[in-house]
């Protein structure tokens, strides 16, 4: 049972109703909508993350699933396992990402492995060693690497909100990336 009451979509101002119609009628949005001074701007941030052409949907989901797993976010996993599958990840790959050690899984590209290494090290130690950073910078360049950090940052932080409020997973509503 969520520890904070969820607001009803009907109570939302029109732009937020439209946004939820587009992105999905999710409990996380009805939770965050309790804070109307900050929620609309947060939706703009989410839109930019998902509309950016920098990463493929598949790459984004690799990173999001890994963060969700490392943060122990049941809610993020409940949404993103399906999205990851739709984005082309196999069940074996998804299971590998949700395992303690992802490195022995077949079928990840070198770029995906690099992203997984960055995500794992950063979420577990809160920093990156020089060689990890240098490898990622060589693969991604400054712009994409910083954007990768933005994705990690967003889902790492959101997992804390979801875990703190013990938000129930959605029934059938799914995020539309």
């Amino acid at each position: 049972m969520s520890r904070i009451p969820l607001v009803s979509v009907e109570q939302q101002p029109e732009p937020m109703r439209q946004w939820m119609a587009r992105r999905g009628n999710l409990k996380v949005f009805r939770l965050l909508a309790n804070a109307p001074h900050v929620f609309p701007a947060w939706t703009q941030m989410v839109d930019e993350l998902f509309e950016s052409p920098t990463f493929s949907r598949r790459m984004r989901e690799v990173v999001i699933l890994r963060v969700a797993h490392l943060q122990g976010s049941r809610y993020e996993l409940s949404q993103h396992v399906g999205i990851a599958r739709n984005a082309g990840l196999t069940d074996q790959q998804i299971n590998a990402i949700l395992d303690t050690d992802h490195s022995d899984a077949a079928g990840f590209s070198d770029t995906e492995r690099t992203a997984l290494d960055v995500t794992t090290e950063l979420c577990s130690t809160h920093r990156l060693r020089d060689d990890t950073f240098a490898a990622a910078q060589a693969v991604f360049g400054d712009e994409a690497l910083t954007e990768l950090l933005m994705i990690i940052s967003c889902y790492y932080g959101l997992a804390l909100v979801l875990n703190a409020t013990d938000l129930d997973v959605d029934g059938t509503a799914r995020f539309q990336p």
Binding site: I4, P53, V161, A164
Partner: protein, 184 residues
């Protein structure tokens, strides 16, 4: 030394440039602006959090400092030790919040202590006991509680980015405390 090149305000979108300059043209913004396709949205989200009249600034700085300490972010600590002073926290209060356990003995209100406890428990265990959560929720209400959690969320995520990029603390520039929207 910061691990990537800084962007200049002239290279940003108009909205991002305006917000960057309004927030002190800090190194953190010029580093994150490298992610030019998502930086504007991130800045807009931060501005809304800083301008909201709901969560008292003093309590916000409690949470930011505690998060910065637990995430081990020298940059956030360097900025917010000074921002917190501007927000009215004493040096002793700031030192207590950014210590392992001295905050537990400090002369803070029950709500402030509960908020520090919640932040500590959430960042160290990734969850919060129902009793502690209810204590904060009852004291602050749903709106301010969600804002408080979003502050933890933002500064925890930001600490990861700052540490990954090893952003240098600004020599003198500090985040200004902006005027807040009128309370409704």
């Amino acid at each position: 030394m910061t691990r990537i090149a800084y962007r200049q305000p002239e290279e940003m979108t108009e909205q991002a440039r305006e917000l960057t300059l309004k927030r002190g043209n800090l190194n953190v913004y010029r580093a994150l602006a490298n992610a030019e396709k998502v930086f504007t949205g991130w800045m807009v989200a931060g501005q809304a959090a800083l301008a909201s009249p709901v969560l008292p600034v003093r309590l916000r700085e409690f949470v930011v400092l505690r998060t910065a300490y637990l995430m081990d972010s020298p940059y956030e600590l360097g900025q917010h030790r000074d921002v917190a002073r501007t927000a009215g926290l004493s040096r002793d209060e700031i030192n207590a919040i950014t210590s392992e356990s001295a905050w537990q003995e400090a002369d803070f209100s029950p709500v402030e202590l509960a908020v520090l406890r919640l932040t500590t428990e959430l960042l160290t265990t990734r969850t919060v006991s129902a009793e502690l959560f209810d204590q904060v929720h009852t004291a602050l209400g749903s709106e301010a509680t969600v804002e408080l959690l979003m502050v933890i969320s933002r500064y925890a995520g930001l600490a990861l980015m700052l540490n990954a990029l090893d952003v240098d603390l600004d020599e003198t520039a500090r985040l200004p405390i902006p005027p807040r929207q009128a309370s409704q």
